[in-house]
């Protein structure tokens, strides 16, 4: 019974927690600029994420350690600190973007500029972490995130040509604007394959005291949760391709890109878009704040339970408090959340080899995973996608920077 409940909640997190500012912005930009053509990137990124999430749950179920614990134990301090610095820096940028996403959605709903919303939003997130237990934080945010299903409804109501949608699962190159195409592909991969999610998920598995009997459930949660989540992203792209592209709108202001939903849902589209953005980013901001604190606390051997009162794990609680406060500062000065999003998604893609390759070594290590080590399929899928993401980012990021 407990396991069925966990299965349902795991699916809820996968589905309701999938869309956030990164996946919405990149998918909408891709649809607005290139129609259906970039669907393959979402599919590829989501498959890779599904494999990685499954692996991190399996590692924790077998070794009773989190990914970060295992990284430090296996590779030692100097290696851990380098990985920590890279992943923490990138994740911190994403946290800024998510806070900004919530503030932007409030700007859409009220007309009051987003910098005014940053402090109340940051405070709200902090209070949730300060006072609520992990399950409530995670499931509450994911349940609210289910509102993002409106993108799927919109995509269906716009009657896309399903043949062309299916065709776009195979990668192809556009005839012009290839630099932008490459950059968007990189950003989509970065938005899908988020290392912080692995750290968050494996910490949850340890807090819930998973053992080897959870391996099948874990596989199901990771597989189906992530694939349904990926379909939500594809729905955003389809809706953008059929509404923003014909109107010639490129997503620089979210007020305009709400057309993505108002085309199919004229009455409620605008509000639903803002709510989807708000709740999607809320879930992600909570997860990233915790994941950042987990990275430090677990690696350095501090207490780190999100279920204990702040007093019991003082250093851990202080850390997320500081992170949230710091992330709010650039937004207060009006830094554009959409630009932060695009930069942080591309940097995530470029940083993947540093976070994922050591993790793959753990997944093939008898000492940590015993007989539940990776098979050749999961190893190959992850390696191939990481190599694609890295090569694309090395080519596309400089081109984008030079091209302005």
């Amino acid at each position: 019974m407990k396991k069925i409940l966990q299965l349902a909640l795991g699916l809820l997190t996968g589905i309701g927690g999938f869309l956030e500012i990164g996946s919405i912005t990149t998918a909408a930009q891709a649809g607005a600029s290139f129609g259906f053509q970039l669907i393959w990137a979402i599919a590829l990124g989501t498959i890779c994420l599904g494999f990685l999430v499954e692996m991190s749950g399996r590692l924790s179920a077998v070794s009773k350690q989190t990914v970060v614990d295992a990284l430090r134990s296996r590779f030692g301090f100097r290696f851990y600190i380098v990985v920590l610095a890279i992943v923490a820096a990138v994740s911190f940028l994403v946290l800024i973007a998510e806070l900004g996403g919530i503030a932007l959605s409030l700007q859409m709903l009220t007309g009051v500029g987003f910098p005014w919303w940053v402090v109340p939003v940051a405070f709200f997130i902090w209070v949730m972490l300060w006072k609520l237990k992990l399950d409530l934080v995670e499931n509450g945010a994911s349940a609210l995130g289910l509102v993002t299903i409106c993108f799927v409804v919109a995509a269906f109501r716009l009657h896309p040509h399903w043949g062309s949608v299916a065709h776009s699962f195979v990668p192809s190159l556009p005839t012009d604007n290839r630099a932008k195409y490459g950059f968007l592909a990189v950003s989509i991969l970065g938005a899908s394959i988020t290392p912080y999610l692995m750290f968050f998920y494996s910490s949850g598995a340890v807090e819930d005291e998973w053992d080897e009997s959870y391996i099948p459930i874990n596989r199901f949660i990771a597989g189906s949760g992530m694939s349904v989540g990926g379909l939500f992203s594809i729905a955003v792209l389809i809706a953008a391709a059929l509404t923003l592209r014909p109107a010639g709108i490129n997503i620089e202001k979210f007020e305009q890109s709400a057309l993505l939903l108002t085309g199919a849902l004229p009455r409620w589209g605008f509000v639903l878009f803002a709510l989807s953005l708000a709740f999607g980013c809320l879930g992600a901001a909570l997860e990233i704040s915790l994941a950042l604190s987990y990275m430090f606390a677990q690696g350095l051997g501090w207490n780190w339970s999100e279920n204990e009162p702040a007093q019991r794990d003082a250093r851990f609680s202080l850390l997320y408090t500081i992170m949230i406060a710091l992330a709010a500062i650039p937004l207060l000065f009006g830094v554009d959340p959409i630009q932060v999003t695009m930069i942080s998604m591309a940097l995530t893609a470029a940083s993947l080899p540093f976070s994922i390759v050591p993790f793959l070594f753990l997944m093939n290590d008898k000492e940590f995973c015993g007989e539940h080590r990776n098979g050749w399929v999961s190893n190959s899928v992850v390696v191939i996608v990481i190599v694609i993401a890295f090569v694309l980012s090395v080519i596309a990021i400089p081109l984008q920077v030079m091209g302005g």
Binding site: K64, F77, R78, Y80, W130, L300, G301, P309, A310
Partner: protein
């Protein structure tokens, strides 16, 4: 036993399974011609900062002199207080017997307890 593989960087649990840190360093005594002997594990700063680099160790020393719990010596745990090795290094002593939690307690007392609501969930 392989010190680097089996001891260094492992998580330290006290006798009640409280996480008290990680094995950040090993202290080895060398006496004349006799074999070198591991006498202590070191936990937290300055051992951990020294592993980043000398600049980090000096910086931490400077900050620690003005701020924080101002504990005297670096935290050392005697080799004889180790119960057994495994995924974690398990000790026979309680965290109260060491100063390993000095920072946790100091931050809890000076910062966290001054913010409303930190005591319960």
């Amino acid at each position: 036993m392989d010190l680097v593989r089996d001891v260094l960087d492992k998580r330290l649990l006290d006798r009640d399974d409280t996480i008290i840190g990680r094995v950040d360093g090993l202290i080895i005594e060398v006496h004349g011609d006799s074999q070198p002997r591991v006498t202590h594990l070191s936990v937290g700063g300055p051992a951990v900062f020294a592993r980043i680099g000398n600049w980090a160790a000096s910086l931490a020393k400077l900050l620690g002199a003005h701020w924080g719990p101002k504990r005297g010596a670096p935290v050392r745990i005697a080799w004889s207080d180790i119960d057994h090795f495994g995924r974690n290094v398990k000790l026979t002593i309680s965290c109260e017997d060491t100063e390993a939690m000095a920072w946790e307690d100091w931050i809890g007392e000076h910062i966290i307890s001054r913010i409303p609501g930190g005591g319960s969930k």
